[in-house]
């Protein structure tokens, strides 16, 4: 008796240890994964800028003495940057050296100066101290990715350039801060200017189309199959096919989208409308299956009570069953949406792999989505895109966490006890 009790006790302890080990292992992997991404991507949210005195002299800009406002945009702003940089290091002579000096500032600075003058024409003729983005290589240096110890021909910044950067830093002209460009800008060839906002808007538009299509159709189909249709061989056939569709690889839906929506219907390529259509086909089985489970979980006594009071079958469903099934339906829908947010393969097939710099302004304008943006940046050769890729992954994960949080909150809000 005693020996059996001890053996059982040991078995229980062992079992619990296995469970803890499994959980511990999963947590470890999760921490490693997230930790790596955070370590690689945190830098994307931080930027280094240089403070320069910019003289908005009309002669330098190549404009007349008193130019009209419409003319301002056509000034030579790159000369402004050159002059400002040369003022910092007047001893630098020779074209090659001057070009090397100029390259320390991002090409995007030119456009930012132009935007500033257009926004405030009174700046013309004034000298203002402005923060301008550094070139991606310079930023990598300050973030510690480029080291002077590496031989000169193995890095993209020469020793002289490093020297200039260090001098600027000693003079206190290098400032760092939160990288808002990453979150508000569109894609760019220049890593220091590249942002995820274009892809984020594309994702939002695509998901909006997906939601608008898959939610009503999915819930209506589930209600019909669960509440109104009788069990015939035809409905069994439909049910089997819905379950199968839920398991089809997503790229097949992309091929379908390419063949039907783009080739047959001639819809605009790379548009969130087509992306949303493809993803809603993919999400529909998930929504239907989740909704059916939620509807089936409503106790029959509620339906009987409603029928007994003289409610029609439609009233029973709409007034009683659907409100009770809503938490489950919403959870299933949001989980389906979260899966759609991370889908890349089907969207590649319909052309959302393009290099889009503008923020899309509608469901028919060309756009890309976050996972595709990550894929494109992962493919880019510039060293600075490495942290951008991880940063974008963090943003995507952030959206997913938000969506799952929304699922939990919505579910709690609509839960009613019966």
């Amino acid at each position: 008796m005693e020996a059996r009790r001890r053996k059982r006790h040991r078995a229980e302890v062992r079992f619990r240890a296995y469970g803890l080990a499994a959980v511990g292992f999963a947590l470890l992997v999760l921490v490693l994964l997230l930790g790596t991404i955070v370590r690689d991507g945190a830098g994307a949210f931080w930027q280094y800028e240089v403070v320069l005195d910019i003289d908005f002299a009309p002669e330098v800009l190549g404009l007349g003495q008193d130019p009209a406002e419409a003319e301002l945009g056509r000034g030579d702003f790159s000369r402004l940057v050159k002059e400002a940089v040369r003022k910092e290091f007047p001893e630098v002579k020779g074209r090659r050296d001057r070009r090397a000096l100029r390259k320390l500032v991002s090409p995007g600075a030119v456009f930012e100066l132009r935007d500033r003058l257009l926004a405030d024409p009174a700046l013309l003729g004034q000298t203002v101290s402005l923060r301008l983005p550094l070139d991606d290589q310079a930023q990598l240096f300050f973030k510690g990715f480029i080291s002077a110890a590496v031989p000169e021909d193995a890095r993209k910044l020469s020793d002289t350039q490093l020297g200039w950067l260090e001098t600027l830093q000693e003079r206190g002209q290098i400032v760092s801060g939160f990288n808002t460009r990453f979150l508000t800008g569109g894609d760019s060839r220049e890593p220091e200017l590249a942002g995820i906002w274009g892809a984020a808007v594309g994702s939002l538009l695509t998901l909006a189309v997906t939601l608008v299509l898959s939610f009503p159709i999915g819930v209506a189909a589930a209600v019909y199959l669960e509440e109104f249709s009788s069990r015939t061989r035809f409905t069994d056939f439909i049910e089997v096919n819905i379950n199968n569709l839920a398991a089809v690889p997503s790229i097949v839906f992309g091929l379908l989208g390419l063949a039907v929506f783009l080739n047959f219907f001639g819809m605009p390529r790379s548009a969130p409308l087509v992306g949303g259509l493809v993803l809603s086909l993919m999400t529909l089985p998930t929504v239907i299956i989740a909704s059916r489970s939620a509807l089936a979980a409503v106790p029959p006594s509620i339906r009987e009570a409603a029928l007994g009071v003289g409610a029609s079958p439609l009233q029973v469903v709409v007034h009683h069953v659907l409100p009770l099934a809503l938490p489950g339906i919403l959870t299933g829908t949001i989980i389906g949406m979260a899966r759609a947010l991370g889908e890349t393969a089907p969207l590649l097939m319909i052309g959302m792999v393009a290099f889009i710099v503008d923020i899309p302004d509608g469901v028919t304008s060309p756009s890309t989505v976050l996972p595709v943006q990550i894929y494109l940046w992962a493919d880019s050769p510039e060293r600075a895109f490495v942290e951008k890729t991880s940063g974008a992954i963090l943003v995507l994960l952030g959206f997913l966490v938000l969506m799952n949080l929304a699922a939990v909150l919505l579910r709690n809000r609509f839960e009613s006890r019966w």
Binding site: I302, V309, Q315, H319, L324, S416
Partner: protein, 270 residues
């Protein structure tokens, strides 16, 4: 009033409104798939009376009850033959809308099943969907009267907005009764309404049934012969899908005509 067919013995003499039974079944048979649950049932239910249906488990009492308000329509594989008539009109007649029928014939179930809404909304739901109240004031009136009739108003008048599911078992069942009478039915069907309740709550509901029979026709299925004896004026004894005997309650319990009835009442089986 002798019944048709030799399987039913109906000896009732008394009862008001005897000329036209409120609900009557003629040769009613019900099949669940291949299994037959009721065999050629003939039964008359008279207005403003409580008729009790007694019998052992699985004898078809609830099936019969559900035929009267066509609740069996929602069960797949359920077929009926024969007729059930409400005031002379076949309930399966195409001119009768089952939804309207269920407003005239209400039902109270074995386990209390209030809607997961407020107490007020539970009672107001029926009148709302049938358009019985033109204004909020009228709806309030209907709800108050129904709750009062069901003997629940005093206990809930201060918490009408609280969920109906928060009440005790007996209160929930009274709420279900209030919900049923809010649509002003003519007949109330009760399927073992007290079987999930304690004796005190049961006594209250039996009192309520006695008060309600002045305005409604009540058919109650019960497992308890004592309850049938207390509450009903007429009793029908079902066995294996057949109505063995129908009679005034006092007579069926003191002087049953059929041997099976005698055996059931004395507890030899069931």
């Amino acid at each position: 009033m002798s019944g048709q067919g030799d399987s039913t013995v109906d000896n009732a003499q008394g009862g008001p409104d005897q000329q036209l039974p409120k609900v009557s079944a003629r040769k009613l048979s019900v099949f669940y798939g291949d299994k037959q649950a009721l065999f050629d049932v003939d039964l008359d239910i008279y207005a403003n009376q409580v008729t009790a249906l007694i019998g052992p488990s699985g004898c078809g009492k609830s099936t019969f009850l559900r035929c009267v308000n066509r609740m069996n329509d929602v069960i797949e594989n359920c077929r009926t033959q024969g007729k059930v008539m409400l005031e002379g009109t076949d309930v399966e007649d195409p001119s009768i809308d089952p939804v309207q029928l269920r407003a005239r014939v209400g039902m109270v179930f074995q386990r209390p099943n209030p809607f997961p809404k407020s107490i007020y909304d539970n009672v107001a739901y029926g009148p709302r969907i049938h358009g019985l109240a033109a204004t909020k004031a009228e709806l309030d009136e209907i709800v108050h009267v129904s709750l009062e009739r069901a003997g629940l108003l005093d206990e809930v008048k201060d918490r009408m907005e609280e969920p109906g599911t928060g009440l005790s078992g007996g209160q929930q069942q009274r709420l279900c009764i209030a919900r049923a009478i809010a649509v002003s039915p003519e007949v109330i069907l009760m399927d073992e309404p007290c079987s999930a309740l304690d004796p005190i709550a049961t006594a209250r509901i039996e009192e309520l049934i006695d008060e309600l029979r002045a305005d409604y026709t009540i058919v109650i299925v019960t497992h308890s012969m004592q309850q049938a004896a207390r509450v009903s004026q007429r009793t029908a004894f079902f066995h294996l899908g057949i109505v063995i005997e129908v009679d005034d309650t006092s007579r069926i319990f003191t002087n049953p005509q059929n041997q099976k009835t005698q055996d059931y009442i004395t507890g030899r089986f069931g």
